[in-house]
Amino acid sequence: MRIAILPTGRMEWEALPQALQSLFPQHEFYSLPTEMEVKSYGEDFPAHSFTSCDVTKHSGKQNEADKLIARAAAEAIGDSKRDRKAADMVIILDDLEIANLHQPVAVVGAVREAAKRFLDQLLNANKRRDRYADALKDKVSFHIAKPMIESWLFPDWENLKNACNPTRAAKLAQGIDPECFLTNDPIYETDTGADCQIWISSPEGKRKNYRPQWIKAGCCRNIHPKAYLSWLCFDPQEKKCSHYSETKGGVVALKSLKWAGLFQNENHACFARSMIQDIANAINEDNPFPGMTALETNLLDVRQRILRNL
């Protein structure tokens, strides 16, 4: 089967197909937009996220979720005249982000609204609407990285090493679910960036743009896995005071992600497990990591579904 991944981060765009391929080697995974599109079109990519602010602000209005749904729907039906085969499954993956950490239901609701809007605009073309409605329900899923993709790296030190070979040891709250990320590191939580030589010495006007991730995260830094990973990979000689880069080390780490570490506790990583469960169902294979899934992205009542899983 051909499974398309439509992520909103460059790290996922570059690495997730390979990571998933390692779990389901008989199947083909590819990112959207496709490498070919990016190469020849120089397209603005990856797709834009709709979760970087409180999603309830978009309520009832068109937003980036509409574009994600449209792109995924098109991939699910293919373009027969341009030799674009329909994908067998399309997974939209977005970070939940700190701004929506308290409301995954609202995020899922925003996607359902966008899917409904997409189908409503086809109301005057019933056959086409039915074709898209079936494609969305049978082939398109929406999944969440909670709170963001870096949280998947923390359960296994090897992942962090691949990401940036940290100079500091990670100290997380005891027995924590990676999707309920929480540091227990007083030095990190109070770090003002005073040791960031390059950043401190940068001109006043530029200093704000180059703020280290953990300074940018402000009071939420203890629940912000990307900010913590940046801090662990502290490098005072870097402009942003870290040698962690999503598009370099992040990609390497995600490509070779230790899935078993992420799913070692069957009650943890429920959102990530929903995605694996969904793929396993689609390709009719066993879930290699059975356990608890997130109800928000694994809607049990099939009659209510507008996408495969919502």
Binding site: S40, A70, A74, I77, K81, R128, R131, Y132
Partner: protein, 376 residues
């Protein structure tokens, strides 16, 4: 008007064209793909029929008429088909101009009515041989002489082609004296105020065309457009709800977009039923709302009066308005033998429905330049 089919080979950048425009249709392509050339082709055919080949060559700046790189003896060929009439033309051209008399054929119901071969000095009408007219094409000579009823669809189609490539905004902004004797907009638009004054003074004769232009302009430019008045030979534009003559602006102070909108609406209102009207890059100077509103007005008129309105564009806003009509969205696509191609032939229509057409154009899904050349 019956559907018109226009065919051409070797005309400027066009290797082969086979086109049946209808309704409001759009022509998209990369720079240099041949959009303006298609409009020149329409203008050339109309002028050739109405005024003869010398005027026709002048109307499209006749040099570089033939496609570069073709064999020396290859001609530039045109064909117009309306109902059961086919009019064929072949022009022997060098790279810089005409090499001699062009060939012409007129067929009706599959029967050859008139014919003249390349470089010949006489033409054949039925069984008679006649000397060539110095100015007019043979089809026009036949029409002027006999006005045969069967030929009317061709004559009507050709005479009612209106091509607006560049409006002379500087002349619209600084008009000379406005007269009341002009019913149709010149192809550079410089008689706009005279046309509007004529229509305003004779609303019964001109079927409310002035009022239609004003009402549609108000929709496109709701905050700046009220009406136009001509006072002592000079036009003034009034904002909405104005009651004071001092509010009137001379055209030199009016927004370029407003003038462009008035020109386009006047061109459409003045066209005869069944006419073909073409606008090159209609979006120039226009706000997205104005673009959508003007296209909406054009669509209404096209439906009511059986007009064919062709717009060339690079504007995603214009393209997005064709979402429900991809069969009227024509693409001059690289590496395609016969142009233009309806977008509905290039892509699965259901797949297209998931996107804004402007977005697809923006991401180079169609009508894109050949980027492979960058690699060489």
């Amino acid at each position: 008007m019956a559907n018109i089919t226009i065919r051409a080979t070797n005309f400027r950048v066009i290797k082969q064209l086979d086109w049946q425009p209808h309704g409001v249709c759009l022509l998209a392509g990369a720079n240099g793909a041949g959009k303006s050339t298609c409009l020149d082709l329409l203008l050339f055919l109309r002028t050739l029929f109405e005024w003869g080949h010398e005027s026709a060559f002048l109307s499209v700046e006749g040099s570089y008429f033939r496609r570069l790189g073709i064999m020396e003896d290859e001609t530039v060929n045109f064909e117009v088909e309306v109902e059961n009439i086919v009019w064929r033309l072949r022009f022997p051209m060098s790279d810089t101009g005409s090499k001699g008399a062009y060939a012409e054929e007129l067929m009706h119901d599959g029967k050859l009515i008139l014919r003249v071969g390349l470089f010949e000095e006489t033409w054949q009408l039925d069984s008679k041989r006649l000397p060539l007219d110095e100015k007019r094409c043979c089809a026009k000579v036949l029409w002027d002489k006999e006005e045969p009823n069967w030929m009317k669809p061709l004559k009507t189609a050709l005479s009612n082609i209106l091509v607006y490539k560049t409006f002379y905004l500087n002349q619209v902004q600084r008009p000379g004296s406005v007269s009341n004797l002009v019913g149709y907009l010149h192809r550079n638009g410089n008689n706009l105020w005279s046309v509007l004054a004529t229509w305003k003074n004779a609303p019964i004769r001109y079927g409310g065309q002035f009022e239609w232009v004003m009402s549609e302009a108000r929709k496109a430019f709701p905050d700046i457009m009220g009406t136009v008045e001509i006072d002592r030979g000079q036009p003034y534009l009034f904002p909405p709800n104005s009651t004071d003559f001092a509010d009137g602006l001379p055209p030199s102070r009016a927004a370029d977009g407003l003038l462009t909108g008035l020109l386009q609406l006047t061109a459409v209102a003045g066209a005869r039923s069944g006419a073909i009207i073409a606008f090159d890059e209609m979006e120039n100077q226009l706000h997205p709302h104005a673009i959508r509103s003007l296209l909406n007005s054009m669509r209404m008129q096209a439906k009511e009066r059986n007009l064919t309105i062709i717009v060339t564009t690079h504007s995603p806003v214009v393209m997005n308005t064709f979402r429900d009509n991809p069969e009227q969205f024509f693409v001059l696509q690289q590496n395609t033998d016969t142009l233009p191609v309806p977008l509905s032939d290039l892509h699965d229509e259901d797949w297209l429905a998931a996107f804004s057409l402007g977005d697809l154009y923006d991401r180079l899904d169609f009508a894109a330049p050949d980027l492979k050349r960058l690699e060489n």
